[in-house]
């Protein structure tokens, strides 16, 4: 992963000193709340319901063992012994004291971590595929480009006060695991006919109040020109994005308002102007990022050993096999698999991780996966490079800490925002609903039978849990002070990103688990199974249509 150099460290230290002064000036009453707001937001600091929330940037999800230990230490010393993985691969602390933020930032900086640009109307942390560099269907490793764009956007003086926040995601695989169609800018690495590396550029995707699937802005921008192209997009947006209404200020609204063709024409005109004063990136510059993401020194596993492992699997416990099936996936190097560590155990809120678990994850990443882990937007952690003959031993150690629930990709692997329990934007409690649903689906045989299914719960229309893109989406809404939950079906992420359709009138919190159970029963009674495999939930919805589910849930009256 990317290693900080001395300049990175001294810059981070300088920024940290500046923020400490800014915070002190605010606490001394020299700076008003209004003037301090953009400053603290650009430092990832929110004033929340119970305590300040600090969001730590995990660049494109890559986190080292040393960093996991620093996060564990902060959770232990300054928070309530846990933290939370967000749906943009970042990490949040929810219970810090305002006057201890400087110590927290200092402790994190010791491990090259910071909270800069994790909030505010600026370019946010770059997200990517959690299986970057190891997955079989990858065309080009996106991480060097993620790092390039991270460095370009960090402290960018022109784009720190945009009309609204700005999110960029990058994938290098055939299958999109980075939700590029629902980002302000989504980038897909591609090769052109001359085998040159470049990007397909999507623009204007996003969720929130107005969910929009991104439009194709360009089919190929050469890698040497990518920063100029991004500058052009951001410049057009900075100048012409709406600033009079924060709900209409995202780039998706601008692109919709003028149409993608006109927007493209403006960007292309701007690019001509930008390139009169800039130089394209050189191959050496690009290489200087790539050297940080060299393939680790994998062991060569013999054919004999691979075969032996397959035979051994037959003798392993059912529990291990379930975990192997659901929580590990193929790796581009024979003899290795990528392991997803589930943070969706029934005893925790989805995505929460305790200090001791973080410490163990640091140790396990050192022993089994070259000292690196990755956070996922599904709020889990990946150990990407585990030797197959070490899987069993890893599984035992994860299981001892409730980190081996074999539920990845199932209904229990739900994505959930912190909701009203923590967040000052939310108007409903999403976590209790998540727990109530998990309780209904506690029989793992039943869960395995249901198979692949995504279920996301957002506590308000800001849609932090990406409920629009879930097979079953649940959105909390406030009606005259009472909490209700609206259910949508048929959303999906990936190459065919689709926004789900609202099923009908919202339900009270207590009704939600039985409604979900009803929807699952309706699916199981109609799914078309072949001998080889079962039709997945989303496939059944696509084939049967939402009306069948609507009638099944509400009766024919609706």
């Amino acid at each position: 992963m990317y290693q900080y150099n001395e300049r990175d460290r001294s810059n981070l230290s300088a920024r940290s000193v500046i923020f400490q002064r800014q915070l002190a000036r605010h606490l001394e009453g020299k700076v008003s709340d209004d003037d301090f707001r953009p400053v603290r937001l650009q430092q990832g600091l929110y004033i929340q319901k119970h305590a300040p929330m600090l969001r730590i940037a995990i660049p494109y999800g890559m986190v080292s063992a040393k960093q996991l230990l620093a996060l564990a230490d902060v959770a232990d010393r300054y928070d309530k012994d846990y933290c939370h993985i967000t749906t943009r691969q970042n990490i949040q602390f929810n219970w810090l004291a305002l006057n201890e933020i400087p110590q927290v930032l200092t402790r994190l900086a010791e491990a090259d971590l910071h909270s800069i640009q994790t909030s505010g109307n600026c370019i946010r942390n770059i997200t990517s595929d959690p299986f970057a560099g190891v997955v079989e269907d990858e065309l080009i490793d996106p991480r060097p480009y993620c790092e390039l764009i991270r460095q370009w956007s960090l402290g960018h003086p022109e784009f720190a006060f945009l009309p609204r926040k700005f999110k960029i995601s990058i994938t290098g695989s055939k299958k999109d695991r980075a939700i590029i169609q629902a980002h302000d800018i989504g980038l897909r690495l591609v090769l052109n006919a001359q085998n040159e590396t470049g990007f397909q550029v999507l623009v204007g995707g996003g969720l929130g109040r107005t969910p929009v699937i991104g439009s194709v802005l360009s089919l190929f921008i050469a890698e040497a020109d990518i920063l100029d192209y991004l500058t052009s997009i951001l410049r057009v947006y900075n100048q012409y994005g709406r600033r009079d209404n924060k709900y209409k200020a995202r780039i998706k609204i601008l692109v919709k308002a003028i149409g993608v063709d006109k927007f493209r024409a403006q960007v292309e005109q701007e690019l001509i102007n930008v390139q009169r004063y800039s130089k394209p990136l050189t191959p050496d510059q690009i290489k200087s990022y790539a050297v940080h993401f060299k393939q680790p020194e994998y062991d060569c596993i013999s054919e004999h050993k691979l075969m032996q492992f397959s035979l051994d699997l037959l003798h392993e416990s059912v529990e291990f096999n379930n975990w192997y099936q659901r929580n590990t996936q193929a790796h581009k190097v024979p003899g290795y698999r990528s392991v997803t560590v589930s943070l969706k155990d029934h005893s925790n809120a989805p995505g929460d991780i305790k200090s001791q678990q973080l410490q163990t994850m640091a140790d396990l990443s050192e022993v089994y996966s070259f000292g690196v882990a990755r956070t996922t937007h599904e709020q889990n952690i990946v150990l990407a490079d585990v030797r197959i003959d070490q899987l069993n031993s890893l599984w035992h150690q994860l299981d001892a800490l409730n980190l081996a629930s074999p539920n990845i990709g199932t209904i229990n692997d739900m994505i959930c925002c912190p909701g009203l329990d923590f967040c000052s934007l939310a108007n409903t409690q999403s976590i209790p609903v998540a727990k109530a649903i998990q309780t209904v689906f506690s029989d793992m045989d039943y869960v395995f039978d249901i198979g692949d299914l995504t279920l996301n719960i957002s506590g308000c229309m800001n849609a932090c849990a990406h409920h629009h893109l879930a097979n079953i989406g649940i959105l909390g809404v406030d009606k005259k002070g009472q909490q209700f939950f609206q259910i949508s079906l048929g959303g999906q992420k990936g190459n065919n990103t689709t926004i789900g359709k609202i099923l009908g009138p919202a339900f009270k919190a207590a009704e939600v688990p039985e409604v979900i159970e009803k929807i699952i029963q309706l699916y199981l009674s109609r799914r078309a199974d072949t001998e080889a495999e079962s039709e997945s939930f989303i496939e059944t919805i696509s084939r049967v249509g939402i009306k069948y589910f609507k009638e099944g849930v509400y009766g024919h009256a609706h």
């Binding site: 810059n11 300088a14 000036r25 953009p38 006060f161």
Partner: protein, 120 residues
């Protein structure tokens, strides 16, 4: 006479500090063309008054003045910007600052001299 910050120092300036461009929400960037800008290009000092610190269009506006429009004089800002934005304004091309009322000059100088540069 007005106090301003230029080249990392607080100085008293006796020049006429008229406002040349009022950067308000009503300002239409579409109307800013090389032709429209001609009359102000000959000014040795161009004072841009910022109405609202949230209106980040001003960063692009100033950067374009220095690059695309090749303005060679001194760009000065005044008005309702934040001291904490000064390093960004400087990086975009601002040469001198008339500080908002009751400003902390020491903090302003600290921000200007200690903010790391984005080298892209």
């Amino acid at each position: 006479m007005v106090m301003l910050i230029r080249d990392g120092e607080v100085i008293a300036d006796t020049m006429n500090n008229q406002v040349d461009v009022r950067f308000t929400a009503e300002l239409q960037l579409e109307n800013i063309t090389t032709d429209a800008m001609q009359p102000i290009f000959s000014l040795p000092v161009l004072n841009v008054e910022i109405e609202d610190f949230n209106d980040g269009r001003v960063f692009t506006f100033i950067r374009l003045l220095k690059t695309r429009y090749q303005y060679k004089g001194e760009i000065r800002v005044s008005g309702q910007y934040l001291i904490d934005q000064m390093a960004m304004l400087k990086a975009c091309g601002v040469d001198s600052f008339i500080l908002p009322d009751d400003s902390d000059y020491e903090h302003a100088l600290f921000i200007l001299s200690n903010t790391p540069e984005n080298t892209f």
